[in-house]
Symmetry: C2
Subunit: 257 residues, 2 copies
């Protein structure tokens, strides 16, 4: 049974890529088999999972060439149990082809269910947006995690996203889009605004906010400067420990063992 | 003579909105007349310039209803010399209508030149992307500022952006898209990665990086929590001073007096 988890947020720079990469790595070292798919044209993930050689095929073929088998797009990473589809949406032309193909919001879900049922987890990283690419990710997912920085622009953007989430829900047939929870990221306990906003979120939203908080942690910045996830860079760091705790909380909360 | 400046970056959360809002406010208190246009469906700017009353018309009409005069879309803010067009691209439907209209990359430029020539500066905030909305902003601009956080994912995303910038340049006729410079934002001098990346950028790119650096500054987070720009919140703060210095550097470098 494969569980598909996506990291979605219209707000930029809140830790979507960092969280997708590190949760995937945590599952992989925890013995689960994991496929990580980068849906963002920025293609940030390839810099965090140690993929050296320039790939040729990836997310572009996944979305615009339905005849190319998904197995051909899958790459290995520096972690045994972690496989990866790299984002190769490089030109404006590529982007336009993708946006044309994904007007069908069930596309990604169909492609994933074709060849990828042998993974325990599939993790999707989406770009900062609420467009059709995000709708595709939402429709394909069993659980949606919303990373949130405890700052007012991010909170306002989340409110707007949750409103459009209802609209997105109406657009899809016969499927309930499930938000697994809000994940507080880049949290600085010395920052008065972070402390205040964090408290407000827990009291207003209770269980829909994960108990695990991802603190702002220099090991994460250092790991990414070295082209690694913090899990493979420094397993005993505050950052890596937080993502392992998130994995445990997810497995318990949604009975994913 | 109106100068049009845009803040563009494919990377999310690097301070595009914060920089657009605060540079616009700095020009306004410096006595210039300024129009700030929010092109991001997230509509973050309305929370930073003290626009209380829910607007009805804005960026949506600017882009999809060419018969609506631009003057009708312009709102006042809490600063006398600062006017503003608010982003009201609210539903997925709205976004699709916008993306359809902006396949014409000259659209925004035409709309701005219709009614807005009485401003000294027009400042554009774009969403994190390289799509047609960004191309519209680039084509309409005299000067493009690229905010950059000194972290490896942002630097890699900038490199990718500069490659697609050349492609964007080829797509537009008879106009040279001019990058005014790279602006280092959210800079933390205690962070070893920031110091190293900053040094590398100055030695590799020299004058294309603004001498003014915007430090990470709690006054900026506090101001945004209060729905203000840091200029109107605390004019003598480190954050506000940095944006005033950026204004001076721009005026000198490009002779905008
Ligand atoms: N917990 C953390 N501690 C320190 N730095 C972090 C943390 N999480 C993320 N970062 C850094 O913050 C920046 C933004 O994170 P990231 O790129 O993962 O966000 P994103 O939401 O994927 O951004 P985008 O909107 O561009 O896709 C990156 O430079 C990343 O290395
Ligand atoms: N110099 C700074 N010091 C402290 N906080 C800052 C600074 N600049 C921006 N911020 C905060 O960092 C976050 C990201 O900034 P901002 O929203 O302006 O970036 P953006 O590039 O416009 O993001 P998006 O990609 O979502 O449009 C916001 O919460 C903002 O308040
Ligand atoms: Mg990302
Ligand atoms: Mg913004």
């Amino acid at each position: 049974m494969t569980t598909i988890i996506s990291f979605v947020s219209q707000k930029g720079g809140v830790g979507k890529t960092t969280s997708a990469t590190n949760l995937a790595s945590a599952f992989a070292i925890g013995g689960y088999s994991v496929l990580l798919i980068d849906l963002d044209p920025q293609s940030s993930i390839r810099y965090s999972v140690g993929v050296k050689k320039e790939q040729t095929q990836g997310t572009l073929e996944l979305l615009v060439e339905p005849q190319t088998p998904v197995q051909r797009l899958i790459r290995r990473t520096d972690l045994e149990n972690l496989h990866f589809i790299f984002s190769n949406i490089n030109t404006l032309q590529d982007e336009r082809r993708v946006y044309h193909a994904i007007e069908d919001y069930k596309l990604l879900s169909r492609r994933i269910s074709q060849d990828c049922q042998n993974y325990d987890f599939i993790i999707l990283d989406a770009p900062a947006s609420t467009n059709d690419l995000t709708l595709n990710a939402l429709y394909a997912s069993d659980l949606v995690i919303l990373p949130l920085q405890c700052e007012s622009l991010a909170v306002k953007s989340l409110k707007r996203f949750l409103l459009s989430f209802n609209e997105l829900q109406e657009q899809v047939e016969n499927k309930e889009l499930r938000i697994a929870g809000i994940l507080l990221t880049l949290y600085d306990k010395e920052n008065e605004v972070h402390r205040r906003v964090g408290k407000q979120l827990y009291s207003a939203l209770g269980d829909s906010v994960f108990k695990t908080i991802i603190p702002r942690n220099d090991s994460i910045t250092e790991a990414s400067a070295l082209g690694k996830s913090v899990i493979t860079y420094k397993l005993n760091s505050v950052g890596a420990t937080a993502y392992i705790r998130l994995m445990d909380e997810l497995v318990d909360k949604f009975n994913l063992r």
